[in-house]
């Protein structure tokens, strides 16, 4: 699937607006300055995913996934390598960084961060595109990329990959937002975008 420049710009903007909202929510929540940017958005086929994220394919990942349905269906996930996730949580909670282990307490925190970020992105998409989406409660998993793909509808074949850079005070952490679509669902998303562009 090839996007026109215009379509790519719209998608990038939608996601950027979403993460901007998420960043202000996080600011309020933790009292530290959080900036979030999405420098690039890509549409990938299944076989391109591991190519685009070679590191993440090998590593163990901390993931927060949320199912959505409505005008278009799919999953949106936020993924971090576990050590990055640990650094992020440590800086959010001012914990002593004595362990990389993501126990239930820390994974709960990461789930909330994921929840805020994904809500920002999804909220932005549904608001701007004037569509109604239903959501399930987000879930946290420590897993591999392969299992994540299997879990989030194994028959998904189109992926919207958005790289997000977190900067909390001086700390920089990189994570990814991936939206999993079946092709027809993605077509519906693109149709909606085209409709909004026309309007």
């Amino acid at each position: 699937m090839i996007l026109t420049d215009e379509q790519r710009d719209v998608l990038t903007e939608l996601i950027n607006i979403g993460v901007w909202h998420a960043a202000s929510t996080l600011n309020v929540l933790i009292g530290h300055k959080v900036s979030l940017v999405v420098p690039e958005v890509k549409i990938l086929a299944m076989d391109q995913l591991s190519e685009a994220l070679p590191e993440q394919t090998r590593q163990s990942l901390a993931t927060v996934s949320m199912k959505f349905h409505g005008d278009f269906d799919g999953y949106s996930s936020l993924i971090f390598p576990t050590d990055s996730a640990s650094i992020l949580i440590t800086s959010l909670t001012d914990e002593a960084p004595d362990s990389d282990e993501l126990d239930e307490m820390r994974s709960g925190t990461l789930t909330e961060v994921g929840n805020i970020l994904l809500n920002g992105v999804m909220g932005s998409i549904s608001n701007m595109l004037n569509t109604t989406l239903g959501y399930c409660v987000p879930e946290y998993h420590e897993t591999s990329m392969h299992k994540l793909v299997q879990r989030n509808c194994g028959d998904a074949d189109t992926f919207l990959l958005a790289r997000t850079n977190f900067a909390i005070d001086n700390l920089k952490v990189e994570g990814y937002v991936i939206m999993f679509f079946r092709i027809e669902s993605f077509h519906r998303l693109m149709k909606t975008i085209n409709r909004e562009l026309a309007a």
Binding site: L29, D103, G108, V137
Partner: protein
């Protein structure tokens, strides 16, 4: 408003459930929440959630709850970031920790709060974190300790001293590799032996008592102990034993550190021997020097007396006998001087091989027929510089001892051998005499198959006056030692009682060329003006009389200073200066040089009772001078005066080294 009685299930849920409508009014409040908050359902239903729980009005909550009320995705409030949403006091104080999910129910147009209590989980997690932290620290400490132990063990293993750890029963629990090297025991044997009975079998040494004391009193012990190796030989070790206590301060083990000090003891012994030898050299040298002067006086007086009693044949004969006896005494003194390295030497270049072959012929005349003399002198380069007479005398002394050792046995053999040092066959000698490694030495040996020397006598055989023979002077081997040392050589001895003795002599190989000087024929006697200088009146007086008897005119001086004063009064008149070397105020060399300033042609005879080599270098450079050793040989002196005064004004090279 929801009719909660229609959903009895909600009151049996372990989660707290609460729902609000779009105006944030509470429409659902289940039994779990009633119990947690102590707020009855009737009191809260219909009320504004943000008014009942004002903390929720904070942006962190309110903005996100309002998003849900607008139909957005569910929001999660995690326990670590928020602790709780609805304040629910715990009986023991504090609030229940909660994880809250707020979801929009579009069909009911309500936001549902699902609240899970996580107090216990959080406590367990905190506990787990604490335990993990402590475990990690423990692990780190363990690793650190292990590393340190490994270093210590490595140090102990590599230590030069043997280290043994033993328990109270005397079982050996640990030894390092130095222990195996020192004792020759292997690992298996070491396991099988106890400290008491295996290693330290010398019961008289009280070693067992020392080790028991360490266990009983907890005090360390240090001392020396003979240790028995696995092959039965022993060595002396410096040992320290220290207690090792367990945590309850009970002594469970002892550590024994054992250093092989046999080499150190050997060096100490050698040093003592050397010091003893040096003391003897000084003592003997001093005595011999005095005796020499006395003998010089006696010889002179006897010579004069003999001349005066020419008419009394009997007395003259006695005088001659007296002179002969004095000569014999002088020979003994000469031997002492050789030992003390102060004797008269006459060094010459000579091939040691030929010398030794000649010596064997001479020796053959000195041994009885019952003893066979074998020579083993292969053809080779044996350049040597030394005093042939002295060396011959030394070797004769050794052969003489060998003959006596063979005694009356019928198969006595004396072997004389010579070779150049060989780095392989002579290797065992290098340990005690490292200088031999340098190579340029010849190895001369004299071996007999006689009675041998007892082990306790062996260290003393080179001491002067030490003799195992009833009539021995104890000077034979002392003279040998002095002679070999004078030649910058080494001497060693191997002997087994009943099997024989071998004396090994190592002499430096040389290749120096010095012109040989023939003895000048006697010259006609002339009367000479002689200035005679000596601080010892025992020498001075008889010498004066003697020289006067020869027809010379003698002026005496007691030291160099007086001699210089006398000399200046009529410097041109002197025919010859005869001066002692070592004197108070001004020595012979200094005064003679002053005189040479006025009279460069003045013949000089330097007389000394000391080792010529000590003054040789100084006098050798002085032309028309001769060095003589006291007591003088009167005929020689007579010849010399005639020769030198006859050669007055001629530039005659010093012949000191070749004079006797």
């Amino acid at each position: 408003m929801i009719d909660q009685s229609a959903f009895p299930l909600l009151d049996h849920m372990t989660s707290g459930l609460l729902a609000i409508d779009r105006q944030a009014r509470v429409v659902l409040w289940n039994s779990q929440l009633e119990q947690w908050t102590d707020i009855p359902r009737a009191d809260i239903l219909g009320k504004d959630l943000f008014e009942v729980f004002p903390d929720l009005s904070a942006d962190a909550f309110k903005l996100r709850i309002e998003q849900v009320l607008s139909g957005s995705a569910p929001v999660i409030f995690s326990p670590q970031l928020h602790h709780h949403t609805i304040p629910c006091p715990l009986p023991e104080g504090g609030m229940r920790i909660q994880k809250t999910t707020v979801s929009w129910l579009p069909e009911h147009q309500l936001a549902l709060f699902c609240i899970d209590e996580q107090t216990e989980q959080q406590r367990l997690i905190s506990q787990h974190r604490q335990d993990t932290r402590e475990l990690k620290q423990e692990l780190l400490r363990g690793q650190e300790l292990e590393k340190r132990n490994a270093h210590l063990l490595e140090a102990i293993e590599q230590a030069g001293e043997a280290i043994i750890i033993t328990n109270r029963a005397g079982d050996i629990e640990y030894v390092n590799s130095a222990f195996y090297q020192q004792t020759g025991w292997n690992e298996e044997e070491t396991r099988a032996i106890a400290v008491y009975d295996g290693l330290f079998s010398d019961r008289s040494s009280h070693f067992e008592k020392h080790i028991n004391d360490v266990f009983a009193k907890g005090q360390s012990w240090q001392g020396r102990q003979d240790i028995i190796r696995s092959d039965g030989t022993t060595f002396t070790a410096s040992i320290s034993i220290a207690p090792i206590s367990n945590e309850s301060e009970h002594i469970t083990h002892a550590i024994i550190i054992q250093e092989d000090i046999s080499r150190q003891l050997e060096i100490e012994r050698k040093l003592r021997d050397t010091q003893k030898q040096e003391a003897l050299v000084t003592l003997v040298g001093g005595i011999a020097h005095d005796f020499n002067n006395i003998l010089a006086g006696m010889t002179g007086q006897t010579y004069l007396a003999a001349r005066e009693v020419k008419d009394m044949p009997k007395t003259a004969e006695r005088m001659q006998k007296l002179q002969k006896l004095a000569q014999e005494a002088a020979e003994i003194v000469a031997q002492l001087l050789t030992f003390a390295r102060q004797g008269q030497v006459n060094n010459k270049e000579m091939p040691l091989g030929s010398f030794l072959k000649e010596f064997c012929k001479l020796a053959a005349h000195n041994i009885p027929e019952s003893i066979r003399l074998v020579s083993n002198i292969p053809h080779g380069q044996y350049d040597f510089r030394g005093d042939a007479n002295q060396l011959q005398q030394a070797l004769l002394n050794i052969v003489h001892n060998a003959v006596e050792a063979c005694g009356n046995q019928h198969d006595g053999v004396i072997e004389i051998g010579l070779s150049n040092i060989d780095s392989e066959t002579d290797e065992p000698w290098f340990i005690n005499h490292p200088v031999l490694r340098k190579g340029h030495f010849m190895h001369l040996y004299i071996k007999d198959n006689g009675a041998g020397i007892a082990a306790d006598a062996l260290p003393r055989i080179f001491d002067p006056f030490y003799s195992t023979k009833q009539l021995g002077s104890g000077l034979g081997l002392a003279m040998v030692m002095g002679c070999i040392r004078h030649h910058h050589g080494l001497i060693d001895v191997q002997s087994t009682p009943g099997q024989g003795t071998t004396l090994h002599i190592f002499l430096p190989r040389r290749a120096q060329q010095t012109a040989e000087t023939a003895k000048t024929p006697a010259m006609e006697l002339q009367s000479a003006d002689i200035l005679l200088v000596d601080d010892d009146p025992r020498v001075l007086e008889p010498a004066r009389e003697l020289l006067e008897a020869m027809g010379h005119r003698i002026t005496l001086a007691e030291d160099g200073k007086q001699a210089w004063e006398i000399f200046q009064q009529r410097s041109e008149d002197w025919d010859i200066l005869i001066t002692d070397m070592v004197m108070p105020h001004m020595n012979g060399l200094e005064s003679s040089q002053l005189m040479r300033g006025l009279r460069p042609d003045l013949p000089i005879i330097y007389a000394t009772a000391y080792d010529q080599s000590l003054v040789l270098d100084d006098t050798r450079k002085i032309t028309n001078s001769v060095l003589l050793t006291k007591p003088f040989n009167l005929d020689d002196l007579d010849h010399l005066i005639a020769e030198m005064t006859g050669a007055k004004n001629a530039d005659v090279q010093s012949k000191a080294a070749n004079r006797s």
